[in-house]
Symmetry: C2
Subunit: 363 residues, 2 copies
């Protein structure tokens, strides 16, 4: 672990150091906002733990981390044996796929790494196997930067005059390679000179809004006000919010969207106040193999996240807890989905099919 300089301006969520025998460095997001600490991942197990424990989180960033994780997992394999390499590749992919169940970008990135690895092995290019895998992981990483910028440009067109906006959890640079999805919309508005005021849901239980989104907005000098999740309805009622923009972890073929727990409540509240509710996500977040939100698996997390949030017990011993990490917002509550290919509006099976194309394979 190395202490990164505090004066850095751009958030570098993940970076690969060295050649194909190198390693991954990521910001340990559990330490923010008080400490900007980087964590070195020199084996696939450390990547798995970083994803599981939310040191790296956000659907696109999880995908990128997993892609680099595949490279790390293959470094120790005997590169001369093509059949062993293929088996090890599948083993590493299966292992990383079990780190978190909901974000589809994880499976998408692993699928890409498998396809690349399989192609390399078919070419008998085992001498360049690791280098080829690293190139693919780097490509996923670089593509995500461009995707986030494009999402920001399309989204900023929807916020023509700026104003008050609300977001939930963190769909920022920390959730992606850089710039983010929902926050990319805000950053692009700022670049265009539109004045925004962002209301940030703190996002219990793990406070990604308070710890990460508030921090990113402050780093870029965007006006922001932190609220508890249960205050979102009140700020909407007071007329302070003209739009809601959130990220996504998985979007079904009909537009139902899994995102951080609490997103659904925000969408219901937005609808009740006539406020447009936007989802910003790369097309890799769509899972057209899943027909509707009811089929999206929802990760259940530990009770201690609620009963012992942040170092102190705040609930009686033995109390039962329900702690789903995500919920599903039905398509009918989503005014538009902002992707790198453009804005999908209205949100329906047909408009999504037209924008995204044929069904993709899943790990």
């Amino acid at each position: 672990m190395t202490q990164a300089p505090n004066r850095r301006t751009a958030v570098e969520t993940l970076r690969w150091v060295g050649d194909e025998r190198g390693y991954l460095v990521l910001i340990d997001q559990t330490r923010l906002p008080l400490e900007l600490v980087e964590r070195e991942c020199r084996d696939v197990e450390t990547v798995w733990e970083a994803i599981k424990e939310l040191r790296v989180r956000g659907a696109p960033a999880i995908g990128i981390a997993a892609a680099y994780g595949v490279v790390l997992g293959l470094q120790s394999a005997a590169l001369s044996q093509s059949s062993a390499l293929g088996a090890r590749l599948e083993e590493v992919i299966a292992y990383l796929a079990k780190s978190r169940p909901t974000a589809v970008n994880l499976f998408w990135a692993l699928d890409r790494m498998r396809a690349k690895g399989t192609a390399l092995l078919a070419q008998s290019a085992s001498g360049n196997f690791l280098g080829g895998l690293l190139a693919e992981a780097r490509a996923i990483h670089e593509e995500d930067r461009a995707i986030c910028r494009a999402i920001g440009r399309y989204g900023a067109e929807l916020l023509a005059v700026g104003g008050g906006v609300l977001t939930h959890c963190n769909a920022g640079g920390l959730a992606t390679a850089e710039y983010g999805t929902a926050l990319s919309v805000f950053f692009t508005c700022q670049d265009q000179g539109k004045r925004l005021h962002v209301f940030v849901d703190e996002t219990r239980p793990l406070l990604q809004g308070a710890r990460l989104t508030a921090w990113e907005l402050a780093q870029r000098g965007i006006e922001a006000t932190l609220i508890c999740d249960n205050m979102a309805g009140q700020v909407m009622r007071e007329g302070k919010v003209q739009a809601v923009v959130v990220g996504a972890d998985r979007i079904a073929a009909n537009g139902d969207t899994a995102n951080k727990i609490g997103t659904y409540s925000v969408a219901v509240l937005a609808a009740a106040h006539g406020i447009p509710f936007y989802v910003a996500a790369p097309t890799t977040t769509f899972d057209l193999a899943i027909d509707s939100g009811e089929q999206i698996p929802i990760e259940q997390r530990s009770r201690e996240e609620i009963t012992h949030g942040f170092g102190r017990q705040t609930a009686p011993d033995g109390i039962a807890v329900y702690n789903p990490a995500f919920d599903v917002t039905p398509a009918r509550l989503i005014k538009a989905i902002i992707t790198e290919r453009g804005v999908i509006e209205p949100v329906s099976r047909e408009t999504i099919q037209a924008a995204i194309g044929p069904t993709k394979r899943r790990t």
Copy 2:
């Protein structure tokens, strides 16, 4: 401060020790659920601080504490001088009225103590002045017990078969003399053999749900599940909740209801899921001098409650915070108001006027 025995079964939120020269003892609710600690209040300043810092909270309990606070504030007065007593009475009442601005029961209790004190002085009964004030405070205290029991009986009729219910904040025995308002409904259902499962919003920022409601339900062996506030929509969507019951801090003449921040969001979510939303409150919570919720003053609390809520800083330095202690749920979202005199349904200016009677004076 004395450590109360952990095995006590009934919650004794407040108790007066001794005669009119005695003192008030209250449970320090900021220490729950890990420690059951009582705090002795031997002067009015300690009562004021206990209300301000939420050591005692909940609209009815604040009223009772303030009534005893008036007795404490007069103990040091020169009892032989009737004019000085009257001035000191007004001074103490004005002081206590500034402890918290939203709960109307505070002003109601202080009005009652003023009326009693004024009557005692008019009778030239200054010899028995303190004793008379204490009797009035004790009467307020005792009446609240009976009121809570009656609210429980009326409310239990609305939950004919038990089932899943949801509550926000703490409207329990700790918020009243005993038994509570919203929780009295659940306790009465339990007494009647109805099976309930209570979903408890943790209620950020001060976690009264996690710390107090979960504790009270556990003490009485009622099935309960703790959730973060942003999960209420999800449990409703999953069909786990058949009714919502909450308390109130002030109810306007048209039925608009101020209660703990987040209550309004719960009401909107309940409406969106077709779930009845009930308010349980004594008639002293009505403030007919206030025409609608827009005129209810909303207390704003400190930023640290959000940024340093769990004994650790969880938001970046300097971030702006919005921290209203209450919000207002419009009457149209409230299916019925459960009072000690019966159930007001539908909730309208007319039905409230009929149930509560003429406008009362305010401090």
